[in-house]
């Protein structure tokens, strides 16, 4: 399918705003900034916020880190939706797969065919040292998350970073988008969270209301699965979609010459 020249051509640049429009914009921006500043200055100086409420009921949350308690227990709904959004982002990226390419290995075909050796020995040597350390750091962040700063999102990101480095160094290939296990892992976090949210419901509790004694265990389980899922999802986001092998050369040649500007 050849792209039509009109779509491929450069878009017409928008005319720059005139002095009057600029002055108007400046006034509007300054008014907004002044309003925001006023609101900030009007805030009570020593608002305790919700911190006393959280620390007062921390013992019931099942974890010792107030941030984790809020994220996975008191306001678990937000985190649940966040993991859903991350999944949606991956689906959105995958939905941009060019026609006929779905199921292949992500990335441009030139790189796909590259020998697994990779071109850069310095990067390879560096990644060989760094990847195991990254996995260790991820496990540490996950384990420490219940009583210190850390947790599933940070640990998952570190895992994803290790995966991205391995991809960049040519030491690992992204899985084909059609293969089942990456999709299972990506979905697992959201599913585990929903399962934990439902766990209390047979006992007459609300959605996301953990049984008191089990809260800590449930949160740790959810965080562990979430770490893997977030790591996989982020790495798959970076890996992108399979790209067509031959579609590139034909459009560039003729169209460029058709549009001499």
């Amino acid at each position: 399918m050849a792209a039509n020249p009109e779509a491929a051509g450069p878009t017409r640049p928008e005319p720059a705003p005139g002095p009057a429009a600029r002055a108007g914009l400046a006034v509007a921006c300054l008014a907004l900034a002044a309003g925001l500043g006023r609101v900030v200055l009007d805030l009570p100086a020593d608002a305790a916020g919700l911190a006393p409420v959280v620390s007062g009921r921390l013992a019931e949350s099942g974890v010792d880190n107030p941030v984790t308690a809020v994220l996975l227990n008191f306001r678990g709904y937000d985190t649940l939706l966040e993991t859903g959004v991350l999944l949606l982002a991956l689906i959105a990226v995958w939905s941009l797969t060019p026609a006929g390419c779905w199921g292949g290995v992500p990335g441009p075909p030139a790189r796909r065919g590259e020998p697994p050796g990779g071109p850069d020995p310095v990067l390879r040597g560096f990644v060989r040292w760094l990847a195991p350390v990254a996995v260790l750091v991820a496990v540490y962040l996950l384990a420490v998350g219940t009583h210190q700063p850390g947790g599933a999102f940070q640990a998952g990101t570190v895992l994803a970073a290790a995966a991205v480095l391995l991809l960049l160094a040519g030491m690992a290939r992204p899985p084909a988008t059609a293969s089942l296990w990456p999709r299972l892992v990506a979905v697992a976090g959201f599913l585990a969270f929903v399962a934990a949210a439902l766990a209390g419901m047979p006992g007459g509790r609300e959605f996301l209301e953990y049984p008191l004694g089990l809260a800590g265990t449930l949160i740790e389980l959810v965080e562990t699965v979430l770490t893997l899922a977030i790591g996989a999802t982020l790495a798959l986001l970076v890996a992108g979609v399979p790209e067509p092998p031959a579609a590139k050369p034909p459009p560039t040649g003729p169209i460029k010459t058709e549009l001499p500007r």
Partner: protein, 99 residues
């Protein structure tokens, strides 16, 4: 004396953040903008630390600076190779005026 030092550090951090944010947005070359965005994310993580929010600092450094930066670089790479996307244009003089 410690208080003054802290204040000076925070002031420098705030000015750097605002300046980096402005340059990241105004930079005519997309690659420069992305690099500035990553630096902004790292300094933002320091700012969160200064505000006593280590959890947010970790997330900002890992997700805000790290992975979003990588995703931007991937997108830029993709734009550069896409025949319909057009090449990255050299600096437009209009934006380069600022000191």
């Amino acid at each position: 004396m410690i208080g003054a030092l802290d204040l000076a550090f925070d002031a420098v951090l705030a000015i750097l953040l605002a300046g980096l944010a402005w340059r990241a947005l105004a930079s005519p070359a997309l690659f420069t903008g992305i690099v500035l965005f990553i630096v902004f994310g790292l300094l933002m993580a320091v700012a969160w630390l200064r505000l006593g929010a280590p959890d947010v600092a970790l997330a900002e450094a890992a997700i805000g600076a790290g992975l979003t930066g990588v995703l931007f670089l991937r997108a830029l790479d993709r734009i550069g190779r896409d025949p319909a996307g057009g090449e990255e244009k050299p600096a437009e003089p209009e934006n380069g005026r600022q000191p």
